[in-house]
Amino acid sequence: MQLRSNEPTGPIEHRWEKHKESSKLVAPANRRKHTVIVVGSGLAGGAAAASLGEMGYNVKCFCYQDSPRRAHSIAAQGGINAAKNYQNDGDSVYRLFYDTVKGGDFRSRESNVYRLAQLSVNIIDQAVAQGVPFAREYGGLLANRSFGGAQVSRTFYARGQTGQQLLLGAYQALCRQIEEGTVEMMPRTEMLDLIVHDGRARGIVTRCMKTGKISPHIADMVVLCTGGYGNVFYLSTNAKGCNCMAVWRAHRHGAAFANPCYTQIHPTCIPQSGSYQSKLTLMSESLRNDGRVWVPRKKEDVTKRPEDIPEEDRYYYLEERYPAFGNLVPRDVASRNALYVTSEGLGVGLEVDGERRGVYLDFSDAINRLGEETIRERYGNLFDMYERIAGDSPYKTPMRIYPATHYTMGGLWVDYNLQTTIPGLFSGGEANFSDHGANRLGASALMQGLADGYFVLPFTVGNYLGEVRTLPPLDENHADVTRAVRAVEERIHKLMNAPEPKHAPEYFHRKLGRIIWTKCGMSRNKEGLEEALREIPKLRDQFWREVKIVGSGAELNQTLERAGRVADFFELGELMCIDALQREESCGGHFREEYEENGEALRDDERFSHVSAWEWTGNPGEPRLHKEPLTFEYVKPSKRSYK
């Protein structure tokens, strides 16, 4: 396997233009002769399918939800970054590029990140023209707010529903193409395998979730925009359906998987209330602007009502440990410290599996200082949501929060064209590994999804098709197609007929999630990772032996859907641990306890300034490592410190 990044050379600000100018094109009359499959209909997939359809390609778009409008991009709250410099505070494309490379802890490809920063401004223009109702100032111009990791105000937002509004913009553009007949939309259809013919991605095998029908779909190329793998932890802020099946099937066909251990934990989520918990809900990070984080100093106080704990017995651990940044330390630092205090037995709230995993986020000082009305104006809807879920009013008693998995920076390895190591297989959005390095800054996920979908993929797809011109026709009866279909059918048969069926797939998923969370979560060490690598294969064997699915495969069967996804999480979870074990340094979302200095992450640029891209070898425990070296011509690696 060869990792060729295919980055253009020369001054970084001209690379994308230069690349576009030298790209191959497909003439308008020839585009409809090319079929492009897009899997996923979120910001990246929806935008790519709509744009490719509009250009005249014959697009088939698939999603597992009942409508493309429901992809999980919809749940993004905060906003989207763009280097517009509308606030006249010195922002520029270069600054956004710089912040993103630094925020990613110097583990991303400079050329990609620069392009992302350049395209950010086009995204805002595009979204506004589509009718996305961004927040505005009284003068009618677009409003901005600031977000973590930046000293400028460059985040555009639509109340607390920026993801929803941007997704509806892409969805409506997609609907226009469905109406025009250039996009055929197949909702409630899940990709279960990739069809590779003559070394190129030529189609997918799907299961219709309403009827259970297994069908091959042949195309000239395949684009995967299927999101992240955060649900490997079982509990995460992802939607219940989010899964890694499409990317994992691609990986098993030869697509390298990059940096799987880079996962992001969000510090302010509502804690788990019981073992039945199905997902975690994120509370906007903005709450840390006015809330003070604390736990009791004494273990015997953890079950007391917070109001009854006197001031001197409260441990404001972030303020004490990080006097300069206090409660506003970056996401990873805030998350790790919550883990440390709760593992010391100082956690508060409900006991789940013998542990209290919660810390207080207290607004009483802010309410005394600014008045309840001001706090209501700032956070009213968040407080209401908290009360709906947790049953307490944050106006009267401190919120309880705890970190939760939120985003995965790792994903399919792609080159500058967003092409994977399989020719004809492209990947965009959270599904690929590019742009965010080891850590993603707030309000950058929407930016990357839309940059890939609207502006990068439509070009690079054309470049690929312009290069290959006419592909030999592939018949549905060809052995490469029938073999893929048969493999899918056999896998379903195996899942439905476990030798000693005992438990629903959730039973195993919860156990897997617990292993990954405790041993490959916020804080990792060699011993724990090796333990996880012994436990996961055992649990996987038990899963295949005891998973129980009632009903048949030839109908809507939600248990079967989940079982297939859990099966792939087992293999991906193992790769995560292998990657985390191999990367003997701490960077961004990957914190190895052995590599730290005064509690801060200690990068090792000598040994680890590279992308780890793993190749499938047929044995999930023995993947083959390939390294793409990272070079920094513009932003010189420096140490992150928030003390």
Binding site: R69, R70, I74, K84, P133, A239, G391, Y454, E506, E555
Partner: protein, 261 residues
């Protein structure tokens, strides 16, 4: 934060497919924590059903934080259940009392055929958007975003209308099974904005025609839709939709939309 455990009797609508007559089935849900969400309560019931070789209850859900619009069922006769402005995924069991009987039904409307149990086919809503619920702007051809100021009051109103999550509760709550609130919210969002003016003449006409073609009823001002809407989308948008519709009928520049419709 105090926890109680509830024992509930569930009467759940079970239906194998669109052509099956369907029936209620009774299940016990015992030891349900008041901290559980409503869907987590169903997860617990389902895991138990699977362990006992019984077919689990099918229901749609995804984000479980009230924004994707996947979930929705009628709980004791009310779309999304008893708590105002709350999708059923964010409804928590502390809203129920020990010993309660709970009746669960799918959205019932001829425009939403039942797929299985509590899962319905809402693709009609997508087809209404496809009929004109968009602004035609080619990717990459947009002009600089701040060239066109939009008064904050107008932008805020457009955002109010755009809050719709497309769950279909409005249809389920309406005695006429009308999709007027859904359709009106999108027509209003786009017609309020300057960007939406070029296609305004035809949008209401084509979208309302599609709504009718899908078998949804008309609006007779019951207001049940607004009461059931988890996002508080206002009835006033239906009045605006009707004005838009009349406008498109009398203006000479309407009826120019090309395409398949």
């Amino acid at each position: 934060m105090s926890e109680e455990l509830l024992n509930l009797t569930l009467h759940v609508w079970r239906q194998d497919g669109p052509n099956d007559a369907g029936r209620f089935e009774t299940h016990q849900a015992n030891g349900i924590s008041t901290h559980m969400s409503f869907l987590e309560m169903l997860d617990v019931v389902n895991e138990d059903l699977i362990e006992r070789d019984k077919s689990p209850i099918a229901f749609d859900h995804d984000c479980r934080e009230g924004i994707c619009g996947s979930c929705g069922m009628v709980v004791n006769g009310v779309a999304h259940g008893p708590q105002k402005l709350t999708t059923v995924c964010q409804l928590h069991m502390r809203q129920f009392d020990d010993g309660h009987e709970v009746w669960l039904e799918p959205w019932r409307a001829s425009g939403f055929p039942v797929v299985k149990d509590l899962v319905v086919d809402r693709s009609a809503l997508d087809r209404i958007i496809q009929a004109g619920g968009y602004i035609s702007i080619r990717t990459g051809s947009a002009s600089e975003a701040n060239e066109m100021p939009i008064a904050k009051a107008i932008a805020d109103q457009a955002m109010d209308a755009a809050e719709c999550i497309g769950c279909g509760a409005c249809v389920a709550a309406c005695p006429n099974a009308s999709a007027s609130l859904f359709t009106a919210a999108k027509i209003s969002h786009l017609s309020l904005l300057p960007q939406g003016q070029a296609e305004r003449q035809d949008r209401a006409r084509t979208m309302v025609a599609q709504m009718d073609a899908e078998g949804f009823g008309g609006c007779t001002n019951h207001g049940e839709c607004e009461a059931a809407c988890p996002k508080g989308v206002s009835l006033q948008w239906i009045a605006r939709m009707n004005r838009e519709l009349v406008r498109s009928m009398v203006r000479s520049d309407s009826g120019t939309k090309s395409g398949r419709r």
